[in-house]
Amino acid sequence: MRAFSYERATSPQHAAAQAAETGGKFIAGGTNLLDLMKLEIETPTHLIDVNGLGLDMIEDTADGGLRIGALVRNTDLAAHERVRRDYAVLTRALVAGASGQLRNKATTAGNLLQRTRCPYFYDTNMPCNKRNPGSGCAALEGFSRQLGIIGTSEACIATHPSDMAVAMRALDAVVETVNAAGETRSIPLEDFHLLPGDHPEVETVLGEDEFITAVTLPAPVGGRHFYHKVRDRSSYAFALVSVAAVVQPDGSGRVALGGVAPKPWRRAEADAALPNGASAVMSTLLDGANPTEDNAFKVRLSERTLAAVLAEAQE
């Protein structure tokens, strides 16, 4: 870890302005950023603490949806009465992630912005285009069991590791931001994370000085909510594959996948195929998949996991 200076932001816009001025990074729960700083994968020289800006509220919106403050802890979000009732897929995804202690610290914005768990990204002796642009990708022909099968590129095959974001994607969440100039914008989660292309180091559409203030969920869509996270051990592991699904009584619904792509993976055409079963969904949702030998099983696993969810939905 390199030495850094530290300040507490006084308002969201102040946080953004300080980021613009110092080139520093926001620290929320710190559960991802500090780990990466210890390994010098992230080397900010200045930290802007964004806790204590009053962004830890969950409020109803005028259209019947929910506005989740950027600093709401994962534990609190998962336990929120309306989330459990109206957006159960989100609660299920959250409690399937990390551990109790981590969820007590982890925040909504921090979770969306957590970085990949590619093992080569974590070893600074190894080439990695995401960590060190232009150095190559050690994972492409290396140990890639955990890595992505779709939306990846020759430059990077890493996945986005979040569970929460997969559920939010299924719920059509929108990310709200403010920048140094005080300008706000609303970014559909669909457009928030970028595919790696030639620049895996650029992971979202956020500007350098852009600060997340909240995530909003539209009015509830009803249906039965599922989050099936598949992994080698029962808890405290990232997904090999996860399926977030909302299934309506008539068999229609939505599906998003985690563990397979650089962002939560959902396609409208695949949703439309839901009444036709898991195989129909996956032939669209994973069309164009380009797995490695190590992770080719994720294609079949995705389909079988969705089949498990659909079977449960019919019970």
Binding site: N125, R233, S234
Partner: protein, 733 residues
């Protein structure tokens, strides 16, 4: 005291304290955070500073230069030691052919090449990243274990066992099996990382470290630092686990010692978790070809086992054939172990070395063979039990109750109710399967000494350099002393882990508890003799009971015998050769497990586990049970998730932290039960006890693999058994 004959009837057969489920002596200290582990010994030396280790970025080659200027100029930096300023420092022991530090040659990834010392941990870590190291990479390295043991290992190795005519027996048998199995490299992953504080006083050095074998450590340090062993003190009252990773000295301690000498202040070094897998040691990966032959009645006629395993130098690796030579009967045997020279970090002992990987494979083979013979896997194992050394039938097992383990276990588990058609039992979305495996592990012992002091307040103090690696040594040694002196357990205190105390067996190879308690017994007998001398009577005429020593009609409180002075007894137990010449002394067990396999996703979850152990006298059923269930948990890891993934291009273990290297979590272990057979083994020790700590791991993974096959019909021969290996073969959901 010499142990030259099997133990006869003795005081342990009427034990009052030994054998009781007494809570750990040091338990309250541990659960309240007051047991100070090596890195937390803030009070032992003043002015401690922090050393941060640097590991090689390449797996094989040379270091052509290290530029320390930026690091030296960094805030707080006190000194830097690089590998280029030392001659190579090698280990002491043949079976740990390690290069700790020194020289320009790189033998494996994350080999220690420097340590940066600073006032704070953060300063040392930051400065360590400023070293600029230039390497010349050696392209001629091998990181791949070939796809057959014959191709992987050295050619024509000496067989470990060659009995009868294997080839002829195999060729003519009614039923045969010829399969190849692999087990991956595994990481010990003990909770406490390697850590040491070192301080010099002139040419004398003290190391507060985390080490299982204090005397081996003392000898290693003497060699590493070029001082007489008597100038070295090693202290380690508590270890947060070791599993063999701390059997030998590792780089943390060598770096701390060298750095402390260079900067003239006490230096503490811990190995960062991401460095441990590649810097230290691991269980070697194996590829094993197993050939079995049986007659029409399901009796084995031939056993062939060829193992190859990665070794950086001549020694090392996981000798998976170790259990094969003795576990089951068969007249014709061909057993070969061949190290494969590879440039991965050196493999060495990890809990039940040899037996673990060996039985992972062999106990699958036994399951497959049972099926081929049309026999129940329990019955098949029973049919192939042996009461003698199968390679040397004149030598019997001293005390072997493997069949009883299987029978008791099968009854307790409800084995006869299991479904016998693979893939045919469902519970909702889950396919249910049951599996069994045998467990075998020798019961070695080592010379072990102790000192016991009777103090004027009537209490007993036990001192030994024995270690307690979380196993319960404090407690069972205290129980033994209380027993022999007729004192309540509460009257005994135990001090361990200091090289100032008598040399003990240390903790390893499941010899610890059996040897160390025998050593305490020897010391206590010496004390009883000293007491008898004070009283002017024969030791044999004394009775020690309820805190009193009785002679005829006179009873004296023990504390008064010394007349205000301590009375001390010190001795070692030495084990005679009869123990290996006249008998095979070993431990046995059977594991029964139930798993659920998700019919859609192939997720594998343990539902219940039962182990039956035949380990001689159980010194303390509570600490012994903890050993067993901990080992069973480790077996779940080995079966279902643990694998150090090798990058065969760069030559290193890729998943080198606890996020990438998964071990079981609480939710993976719903129910564990342990049954100890009430056996005693007079050939083992005066207490007739043997180890359990490694036995508990032997065979667990195979029982789980067999259960997965029973659940799904899919046979996996490459560990770990993960869902990607079964998903294509699952019955339609």
């Amino acid at each position: 005291m010499e142990f030259n004959n099997p133990a006869g009837n003795n005081l342990f057969d009427k034990a009052k304290v030994v054998g009781q489920p007494i809570r750990r002596l040091e338990g309250p200290l541990k659960v309240t955070g007051r047991a100070a582990y090596a890195y937390e010994r803030h009070d032992v030396a003043s002015g401690q500073v922090y050393g941060y280790p640097v590991g090689s970025a390449i797996a094989k080659g040379r270091i052509t230069g290290i530029d320390t200027s930026a690091a030296e100029a960094a805030p707080g930096v006190i000194g830097i030691v690089t590998t280029l300023e030392h001659d190579p420092i090698e280990g002491v022991f043949d079976y740990d052919p390690v290069r700790h530090f020194g020289g320009n040659e790189v033998l494996h990834y994350h080999q220690a090449i420097a340590v940066v010392v600073a006032e704070t941990f953060e300063q040392a870590r930051a400065a360590a990243n400023l070293l600029k190291v230039d390497y010349a990479r050696d392209e001629g390295a091998n990181f791949t274990l070939s796809s057959t043991p014959e191709a992987a290992g050295e050619t024509d190795p000496d067989p470990a066992q060659s009995t009868g005519d294997f080839d002829a027996a195999f060729a003519s048998a009614a039923v045969t099996l010829d399969e190849t199995y692999t087990t991956p490299a595994e990481s010990h992953s003990m909770m406490e990382p390697h850590a040491t504080i070192a301080a010099w006083d002139g040419d004398r050095v003290t190391l507060w470290t985390s080490n299982q074998m204090i005397e081996w450590g003392r000898q290693s340090f003497a060699k590493a630092f070029g001082v007489p062993a008597d100038n070295v003190r090693v202290d380690c009252p508590y270890l947060g686990g070791g599993f063999g990773a701390k059997l030998f000295v590792r780089s943390d301690a060598v770096l701390a010692g060298l750095a402390a000498r260079k900067v003239g202040r006490p230096v503490k070094v811990t190995l960062p978790r991401p460095m441990i897998a590649n810097n230290t040691t691991h269980r070697g990966e194996t590829i094993q070809r197993i050939r079995l032959a049986a007659d029409a009645q399901g009796r084995l006629t031939a056993i062939g086992h060829h193992n190859a395993t990665n070794a950086l130098t001549e020694a090392g690796g996981e000798d998976a054939t170790l259990p094969t030579v003795a576990f089951y009967a068969a007249a014709n045997r061909q057993v070969v172990n061949a190290p494969a020279h590879m440039n991965l970090p050196n493999s060495n002992a990890m809990r039940a070395p040899g037996e673990t990987a060996g039985l992972m494979a062999f106990e699958i083979a036994m399951d497959e063979m049972a099926a081929k013979c049309g026999m129940d896997p329990v019955a098949f194992r029973i049919a192939n039990d042996t009461q003698v050394d199968p390679g040397n039938p004149d030598v019997p097992f001293s005390d072997r109750h493997f069949v009883e383990c299987l029978e008791r276990g099968a009854a307790a588990f409800g084995w006869s109710n299991r479904n016998t058609a693979p893939g045919a039992t469902r519970d909702g979305a889950w396919l249910i399967g049951h599996g069994v495996a045998g467990a075998y592990r020798p019961a070695p012992v080592m010379t072990s000494g102790a000192r016991v002091a009777l103090t004027p307040d009537g209490r007993l103090r036990v001192e030994s350099d024995m270690t307690d690696i979380g196993t319960g040594s404090y407690t069972v040694m205290g129980q033994t002393a209380a027993e022999v002196l007729g004192l309540p357990f509460e009257a005994v205190s135990v001090e361990l882990g200091d090289s100032a105390y008598p040399v003990s067996a240390g903790s390893g190879g499941q010899w610890g508890a059996a040897s160390a308690t025998a050593g305490v017994y020897a010391a206590c007998v010496a004390l009883r003799e000293a007491i008898a001398e004070r009283l002017g009577v024969q030791e044999g005429d004394l009775t020690f009971e309820d805190g009193m020593v009785r002679h005829g009609n006179t009873s004296t409180p023990l504390g008064e015998v010394g007349g205000g002075e301590e009375i001390v007894g010190e001795d070692s137990i030495e084990f005679g050769s009869f123990r290996s010449d006249d008998a095979l002394v070993a431990t046995f067990g059977a594991h029964f497990v139930e798993v659920g396999v998700h019919a859609y996703t192939g997720e594998i979850r343990v539902r219940r586990m039962l182990a039956v152990a035949d380990s001689g006298r159980i010194l303390n059923p509570m600490t012994a049970r903890s050993q067993m269930i901990g080992a069973m948990t480790m077996g779940v890891g080995g079966a279902l998730m643990e694998e150090l993934a090798v990058d065969e291009r760069y030559g290193f273990f890729v998943n080198h932290d606890l996020a990438g290297y998964e071990v079981p979590v609480h939710l993976d272990i719903p129910e564990q039960e342990v049954i100890f057979l009430e056996t005693t083994d007079p050939y083992s020790t005066p207490l007739k006890a043997k180890g359990v700590g490694e036995l508990g791991l032997c065979g667990v993974a195979a029982a789980l693999a067999n259960a997965v096959t029973n659940a799904t019909g899919v046979r996996v021969r490459d560990y770990p058994v993960t869902l990607d290996k079964i998903i294509d073969g699952l019955p339609s959901a």
